[in-house]
């Protein structure tokens, strides 16, 4: 071993001293168990970089992505949000960032108490009774919801209402395969039967439309199935809490409120459910308790611990509710702080602002001669745009003008989506970007 790397304290002298104390001649002796035939293979890795070299390399790489300043109207599961500035500051405090799962509650109250705050916030937003401290992302959380519905209803099929995010549907399918669950994509609740453990519905749906959950809940309950609502927690700033509309399980994606889209991850799966399902919930749960012994100066004080662990893999092993262990705690912290910083008024105002700005942009686009914004009902922040050419052509024309247009959904079956791009405008889309878009669309329209 050469002289130490900055990440490794022990020096050659340290090592010599330690080896001597251990009583072996060299480091190799400690690896003696490793099969000689396979020891120290040729491994082709680029040479080590010093910190300045690493910074330079990755600054160049970051610059190979589209510039962050480029107008971008993609949504479809990842939304640019105005995240309060205090979030990044607090989340980067190393006491939070460099801890692990709070196995030792007495020195992990920061993680635990914030976990309790998170659960509370998720329950308030979703209108549910209980929540865990978060799963990987909305899709895996929804998959876990289907498994949980199957466990509690003892049924082996899950129904997904058509307009669910394809990524979410994909993950449900992956998990279902392992669990031996059949997945039916249904166009309407009429297709539900008593084979279905649950009906999964996305709010707003994949094309941005706000869904009336109540009839769906009723339809699901009528066949003895649970309603799983996959809800955008930001939209819940104005939309009815799914719990109040009859949902039994609510999942959601918390990433965007906690920080930047980061090419999709780290993400954060929200998972909340009704009290009856408490002991079936996957993942970790924080509970409130007291000190066992009163301190000298008074009553036992309040603290937080991981609880109901008999559900979990490290105790229950193959009979656990899920295999999840490491989840997304730090993102959950960011989510909690962001929601609490906005507060009840701020979250509502922010969601309303998003709504107004998106509708205003849609109105301006639909007013352009060659464009059409087909509506499918009330919607939140995403809308379809049909232009004077095919969707891929429109997308390419915008790209040429250094604008990232909406997602191409022209291959979907919904009639409104035919030939359309799915645009997203949020409270955080800069005005200048919208102006640039309108101008570019007008230009493109003129040129045809």
């Amino acid at each position: 071993m050469a002289s130490p790397h900055p990440y490794i304290p022990a020096t050659e002298a340290d090592r010599a001293r330690m080896l001597e104390r251990i009583g072996v001649d060299d480091l190799d002796a400690l690896f003696a168990d490793l099969p000689a035939a396979f020891r120290d293979p040729a491994i082709d890795l680029p040479p080590a970089l010093t910190e300045p070299e690493l910074i330079a390399l990755l600054a160049d790489r970051a610059a190979e992505n589209a510039a962050p300043s480029r107008p971008n109207f993609l949504g479809a599961g990842a939304y640019r949000r105005s995240v309060p500035s205090i979030v990044s500051h607090l989340v980067s405090r190393s006491e939070f960032a460099t801890a692990y799962t709070p196995y030792q509650p007495e020195i992990s109250q920061g993680t635990l108490q914030s976990g309790f705050e998170f659960q509370s916030v998720v329950c308030e937003l979703t209108g549910m009774d209980v929540a865990n401290v978060g799963l990987y992302d909305v899709a895996s959380a929804t998959a876990e919801a289907c498994l949980m519905a199957s466990r509690t209803t003892k049924r082996q099929a899950a129904a997904l209402l058509e307009l669910i995010h394809p990524g979410t549907a994909g993950v449900v399918n992956t998990y279902a395969r392992g669990a031996g669950l059949r997945v039916d994509v249904v166009a309407s609740p009429d297709e539900l039967s008593d084979e279905h453990a649950c009906l999964v519905v996305q709010q707003p749906d994949f094309l941005g439309t706000i869904v009336d959950l109540e009839p769906l809940a009723n339809a699901a309950h009528d066949v003895g199935a649970l309603l799983v609502a996959v809800a955008d927690p930001f939209a819940l700033g104005i939309l009815k809490a799914p719990g109040d509309a009859g949902a039994d399980i609510v999942t959601g994606e918390g990433r965007d409120l906690a920080g930047a889209p980061a090419f999709g991850g780290p993400s954060l799966g929200l998972f909340a459910a009704g009290l009856p399902y408490l002991r079936q919930i996957p993942g970790r749960i924080v509970g409130r308790t007291k000190e066992l012994h009163a301190p000298d100066d008074g009553e036992p004080r309040t603290g937080y611990v991981l609880t109901l662990q008999a559900r979990e893999q490290f105790i229950r092993r193959e009979r656990a509710t899920s295999n999840v262990s490491t989840a997304q705690a730090l993102i959950a912290l960011g989510f909690t702080i962001a929601v609490q910083a906005l507060g009840p008024q701020g979250l509502r105002q922010s969601a309303e602002l998003c709504y107004q700005r998106a509708h205003d942009a849609a109105r301006r686009i639909s007013a352009l001669p060659a464009y059409d914004v087909p509506e499918r009902g009330p919607w939140f922040q995403e809308f379809l745009v049909r232009g004077p050419m095919s969707a891929p052509e429109l997308s390419a024309a915008l790209s040429e003008r250094e604008i990232t247009g909406g997602l191409d959904v022209s291959n979907r079956l919904e009639p409104e989506a035919r030939d359309a791009l799915l645009f997203c405008v949020t409270e955080a889309t800069p005005d200048a970007h919208i102006e640039a878009l309108i101008e570019a669309l007008a230009e493109i329209g003129d040129e045809v």
């Binding site: 071993m1 990440y7 490794i8 022990a10 330690m18 080896l19 490793l34 396979f38 491994i43 890795l45 970089l49 910074i55 990755l58 790489r61 190979e64 992505n65 589209a66 962050p68 993609l74 990842a78 205090i86 939070f96 960032a97 460099t98 509650p105 007495e106 020195i107 109250q109 659960q119 509370s120 308030e124 992302d137 993950v171 392992g178 930047a260 889209p261 980061a262 090419f263 991850g265 780290p266 749960i285 509970g287 308790t289 066992l292 008074g298 036992p300 603290g303 609880t307 979990e312 490290f314 999840v324 262990s325 490491t326 997304q328 730090l330 507060g343 701020g346 602002l353 107004q356 509708h359």
Partner: protein, 502 residues
């Protein structure tokens, strides 16, 4: 000289909602001056939302105070066995938070995300080199999801072979992490537990006995959770393959062997890694992590979607393998964590990786030597990245449990090691110092554990009551589970109940 301070605040009793004052706020939202669209029908809208109302300064103070009630790697030694709590280089966080990376949209065209994609491609290649398994998907969000991916890939392969209906068992050593059996179960398999032999490795005889045409796979942790090399694993691999089953490596302990031996060379078919452990991305109080899954040529077609590939046109793209088991995440995994892992890999290179595994192993053995004789050592041989002691002697002689020892260690300024795992070691103390602890820290940890062993004999009550110097005393975990209070609402309810019942 000590004199009483004022009574310590019951900090945990005052949550954000208890600090809320109607009308306060921490941020303002811009007003909308454009023309207004009426909101959807009120039946679709919420009436109220209960959230705390605090000013910005109050909220910052609250979470700053919470952080101060937490112990992280930057606070001191954190020798949680199996968790690889090593120093997290700050540069990794800075790199991942560059706007070019952080603002990339997951639905962006590949052409608009080449910086991220090329970095992921190189990480993929690096992991393939390090594991000797040439194909990699970076999608899994953590180790357990990597396991699920790996097992489902085996499922897919068996299906293709037409043997899925018969091969319904997965063999898992009794020393395995709980995620292994839980994963096997989630993937629809029955779990058969394999006993650990006296030398700390798998019992070869049992394996041979269990291996038949009902076995889909054997999941082995290498090195295992005792910190020991799985002796003869390369031969076991042959047996497993002969029996038509697959060999899965739980690579959560890769840090012990990085650069020295590779799963692929040993005959493993598929492995997952824990980048948040071996590759030093911060653990974040329980995530985010990243658990890439790596495999042989044979299993490559089944890898989870997406896999990052350089295409003929020189553009790096995210592709779906032809017979992929499907997606694991709505998008492409915990990319921010993957960027950090890449930065770590590049900061080290091969020599650095070898230095890491070498020092991790040296540190664990140093600790083993220093504590030798003070605690029982059920598997008394040189270890790799971690060492598992047992508090059995203390339990037997002084009625002091490992739980007490762990709590007392807090008073000495250390985060306790993993306890009561692996399950096969009674009163287990599973200690993983990692390579980033200086020898002085390991010596101090040993000294503290020795002092505690002495105290167990002389003054067991001090251990029973520990910790004494933490922000809060030992907590009542039983009541927490028995009468769960899981959110603000419950607090109110349970307080009302207890007030009424007085």
């Amino acid at each position: 000289m000590t004199a009483p301070g004022p009574r310590r605040e019951d900090f945990g009793a005052r949550l954000s909602i208890d600090r809320s004052v109607p009308g306060r706020r921490a941020v303002d939202v811009p007003a909308w001056h454009g023309s207004k669209t009426s909101l959807p029908d009120s039946s679709l809208l919420r009436d109220s939302l209960r959230l705390p109302e605090m000013s910005q300064g109050e909220l910052v103070r609250y979470y700053t105070a919470l952080s101060e009630r937490n112990y992280g790697i930057d606070s001191g030694t954190y020798p949680l066995g199996s968790c690889t709590m090593k120093y997290n280089p700050k540069i990794n966080d800075l790199i991942a938070s560059q706007p070019g990376f952080a603002d990339a949209h997951p639905q962006a065209r590949a052409e608009d995300a080449q910086g991220t994609l090329r970095t992921l491609l190189e990480l993929r290649r690096g992991l393939a080199e390090v594991t000797g398994l040439p194909h990699v998907s970076l999608a899994p969000a953590a180790g357990a999801q990597g396991e699920l991916a790996g097992v489902l890939m085996i499922t897919a392969a068996l299906e293709e072979r037409g043997e899925l209906a018969t091969r319904r068992r997965i063999l898992v050593p009794d020393s395995a992490h709980g995620t292994n059996p839980a994963t096997a179960a989630m993937a629809g398999y029955t779990v058969t537990h394999l006993p650990t032999a006296e030398n700390g490795s798998l019992d070869r005889a049992t394996i041979e006995q269990e291996l038949d045409e009902t076995v889909a796979a054997v999941m082995v942790t290498v090195p295992n959770t005792l910190g020991l090399w799985e002796q003869g694993i390369e031969e076991v691999a042959g047996l497993i393959h002969d029996a038509g089953a697959y060999l899965y490596a739980d690579g959560a302990n890769l840090n012990a062997i990085m650069g020295r031996v590779r799963y692929g060379d040993l005959g493993f078919d598929v492995a997952h890694l824990n980048l948040h452990k071996s590759f030093s991305t911060p653990h974040g109080g329980g995530g985010p992590g990243a658990g890439p899954v790596c495999c042989t040529e044979e299993l490559a077609p089944y890898l989870p979607t997406p896999v990052v590939e350089e295409c003929a046109d020189g553009i790096v793209r995210l592709l779906a393998p032809e017979r992929s088991i499907g997606q694991l995440q709505q998008f492409h995994g915990n990319v921010g964590v993957l960027l950090r892992a890449y930065a770590y890999l590049r900061a080290l290179g091969l020599d650095g990786l070898r230095a890491v595994s070498g020092q991790a192993v040296l540190n664990a053995n140093y600790l083993r030597t220093l504590l030798h004789g003070h605690y029982d050592l059920p598997y008394d041989r040189p270890v790799l990245h971690e060492v598992v002691f047992s508090g059995s002697r203390q339990r037997r002689q002084h009625d002091v449990r490992t739980y007490d020892i762990a709590k007392r260690l807090i008073d000495h300024g250390f985060h306790p090691p993993t306890v009561y795992f692996p399950l096969i070691v009674p009163e287990a103390l599973m200690i993983e110092p990692t390579e980033t602890e200086p020898p002085e820290a390991i010596e101090a940890l040993a000294d503290a554990l020795i002092a505690i062993a002495d105290e167990a004999a002389e003054d067991p009550d001090t251990l029973h009551g520990a910790p004494w110097s933490a922000p809060i005393g030992r907590l009542d975990e039983t009541t927490a589970a028995r009468r769960p209070v899981l959110r603000w609402q419950d607090v109110k309810v349970s307080e009302t109940v207890s007030r009424l019942s007085r």
